[in-house]
Symmetry: C2
Subunit: 103 residues, 2 copies
Amino acid sequence: MSYFEKHVFFCTNQRPNNESCCADCHASAAHAHAKERIKKLGLNGQGKIRMNKAGCLDRCDEGPVMVVYPEGVWYTYVDISDVDEIIDSHLVGGEIVERLRLP
Amino acid sequence: MSYFEKHVFFCTNQRPNNESCCADCHASAAHAHAKERIKKLGLNGQGKIRMNKAGCLDRCDEGPVMVVYPEGVWYTYVDISDVDEIIDSHLVGGEIVERLRLP
């Protein structure tokens, strides 16, 4: 069994030279919101869910991006309500949010 | 199939207040070395291997730590030669390095 049941990585990278990147799309705020929500649900910690910041996930053109392991499902999101939907539907309910999923 | 065949996250977090953390163990240098080595081997990119920096992976007492997805195998390492062994044995050869593996 994995150390975390779900390990989620938000790209929060800030590219130099004002190039567009996930950090421009409030990725750090999205991560912070997700982490707090999981905590409030009592789902954070070993054997449960971990929300992590990550460096550049190398899918800049599709950003902002996040990835859920171990299943390796990638998402983009526009706002906090999208993040909430991913948490409620996928992480808690086990159902992938196809409308936000990246190929 | 996953976007990356192997997605590796190095904790490169720097804790405040001089608390011991992965960043004190040259984690950023280890990540940079691993990224460069994978590139030299021609194994970086979509469908292959991605070496990522990550925020705190929440296993500080066992650090420095890294995790390999999708299999969810966690490692600690002491120096660059350990990182090379993980690359050669696990990422390239498919054989987990048990002596460095975390439970």
